[in-house]
């Protein structure tokens, strides 16, 4: 097979050579220039600027490159050396738009909460509890959730802390805290990746899209603003969108680029690291922004939602109002794992208040 490919390659190269004489190499150009115009080093200078590797006695990564090759990141009108282009991309649009994206979404969520308040139950709690999440599911969810928060906060500190935290707490304390953030970020990341992979397989079946999910998107505003309920399975369409777009898609971007940045010992070039950083930062900022919505809905945004994942049980009234199709399935015995049973002491939320 290899022999075949080699032969094929030679044929292609030969065909190319026949069609057009190869351009003289930089060295040949310089030799020629030296005879016609002695002291004119323009070909050598061009070779340097192209950023290719040359000879050096110093062992190491890219030590033969005198200056990084030119590059251009999205939104840039001119080429600059790759390092300079990356710096402008990072310190420019990614910092500006990414920072304001997070700030504005937090402000919008808090504003909405102040305006409309949480989505409350319409009926009083029944006092009968259903098994909503197994201990295994809770463990996986909280492993992913807590590691996500650690990664998010440490990442935001490493990116924006210089502009926000540093002026307040000073150089010494900020550098100590950022070093802690870097180490937490590096060592918590594998836990997050493993949790997410398990979560994907664990909840894949319940997150498969169904026909009735479409109406959720049409009525989502009515739910947020007026607490109107839309028939949903175990997970509603918003949760499914978070699962496919966040847990799967954004995790894939963040994890893949993160692993490249996490293990610099595979001799990745600086260009690869710059690209990986850019993908990592942009995907992570979007991920953090979307997660704020999920965290809001799971804590203060919807009455009773936090307790479901905290204790694993939900009240029948909550299930009936928020996930009516799932509730019907449980009641008709199609989901034996969720059927009532003994409720431990640890599930006190949503009990009727005396």
């Amino acid at each position: 097979m290899r022999r075949t490919l080699l032969t094929l390659g030679l044929v292609v190269v030969a065909a190319g050579a026949a069609a057009q004489a190869p351009a003289p190499s930089g060295a040949q150009q310089q030799q020629e220039r030296q005879t016609t115009q002695p002291g004119n080093n323009a070909p050598v200078m061009r070779e340097i600027k192209s950023g290719e590797k040359h000879y050096t006695g110093i062992q190491g990564r890219e030590t033969g490159v005198l200056i990084q090759p030119p590059a251009r990141f999205p939104g840039q009108s001119a080429m600059a050396t790759a390092g300079e282009a990356w710096r402008n991309f990072r310190n420019g649009p990614v910092t500006f738009y990414g920072g304001w994206l997070v700030v504005l979404v937090i402000a919008a969520i808090l504003g909405f909460y102040a305006w409309k308040g949480p989505v409350k139950l319409h009926e009083p709690p029944s006092g009968r509890q259903l098994r909503r999440f197994s201990p295994f599911e809770m463990t996986v969810h909280w492993s992913a959730a807590i590691s996500f928060c650690v990664l998010g906060i440490s990442g935001l500190t490493m990116f924006f802390g210089k502009h926000i935290l540093l002026p307040i707490i000073g150089y010494t304390l900020f550098a100590w805290f950022t070093a802690l953030c870097k180490n937490l970020h590096n060592f918590i990341a594998p836990l997050f990746i493993v949790s997410v992979v398990v979560m994907i397989f664990m909840w894949l079946r319940d997150n498969l899209p169904r026909a009735y999910d479409w109406q959720w998107f049409g009525k989502a505003w009515a739910f947020f603003a007026r607490g109107e309920h839309i028939p949903s399975g175990r997970f509603n369409a918003g949760e499914k969108a978070w699962f496919w777009g966040g847990v799967i898609l954004l995790s894939a971007f963040v994890a893949w680029s993160g692993v490249i940045l996490l293990f610099p010992n595979f001799d990745q070039s600086r260009a690869v690291m710059q690209d990986a950083w850019s993908v990592h930062a942009i995907a992570a900022l979007i991920y953090i922004t979307v997660s704020l919505g999920h965290i809001y809905m799971g804590t203060i945004g919807v009455e009773g939602a936090y307790g479901n994942m905290r204790h694993g049980y939900t009240d029948e009234t909550w299930a009936k109002e928020h996930h009516s199709i799932w509730y019907e399935e449980v009641k008709s015995g199609r989901r034996p794992e969720a059927a009532g049973g003994a409720v431990p002491e640890g599930a006190p939320h949503m009990k009727e208040k005396p």
Partner: protein
């Protein structure tokens, strides 16, 4: 006040690596770290071979300084870009951003875990008191405080590598070019000290609030 710069004359560099050795010896740089290196273009091709010695160029608008998450870089009154190893977290961003590949990272653990960044200091030490033991241990010799220029340039056998006040070394180089009538390509200066097309000239930086003057 002087504005310190490096200049390498490609017509003169003979790739002896004396500057690399001088730097390592003078600053007692850790194993595996080279603050300076010599790169040869068209190695072994008669009439086309040129060598250039490169280290931190102490840029006017330094990308390393701009991307550092903990802002550990500072510029001295001589225009030398230095950093504080007590603040450095070893993230490697300065290495991604530097056009010249100047920042070096001694490996500090498994899986390529980076130690604190090390780079050319223009033989100007660091934020510790001048010529103190702590300064020497972390940053190497502070020759500027002794009234001397960087060891690499001082040691250069052909005076291809010049280090010193930018105006003075530029004048020396201009005189050479006029005298020999060739080799006017001032390598690296447009990236390190140049003004970008269409941009405003760099504003004079205010005196650093940290570090010594």
């Amino acid at each position: 006040m002087a504005r310190m710069k490096f200049l390498c004359d490609a017509e003169r560099c003979i790739e002896c690596n004396g500057c690399v050795t001088a730097c390592k010896n003078e600053n007692e740089v850790p194993w595996g770290v080279n603050r300076r290196r010599v790169v040869t273009i068209n190695d072994g091709v008669v009439g086309a071979e040129k060598s250039i010695s490169v280290a931190c160029m102490h840029c006017s608008d330094a990308p390393c300084m701009a991307v550092c998450p903990v802002d550990c870089f500072y510029r001295t009154d001589d225009g030398v870009v230095l950093h504080d190893k007590d603040l450095c977290i070893g993230c490697g961003y300065c290495f991604y951003a530097c056009p010249f590949g100047a920042p070096q990272f001694p490996q500090a653990g498994a899986f390529g875990l980076r130690g604190k960044m090390d780079k050319c200091t223009f033989c100007a030490g660091g934020p510790e008191p001048d010529r103190s033991d702590a300064e020497f241990r972390k940053y190497g010799r502070n020759r500027l405080a002794e009234g001397k220029l960087p060891a690499c340039a001082e040691m250069c056998s052909t005076k291809a590598l010049l280090g010193g006040d930018g105006d003075v070394i530029a004048d020396i180089y201009r005189e050479r070019v006029l005298r020999r009538g060739r080799g006017a390509d001032l390598w690296g200066w447009s990236s390190a000290y140049g003004v970008k097309p269409g941009a405003q000239p760099p504003v004079q930086q205010p005196a650093p609030t940290r570090g010594k003057s």
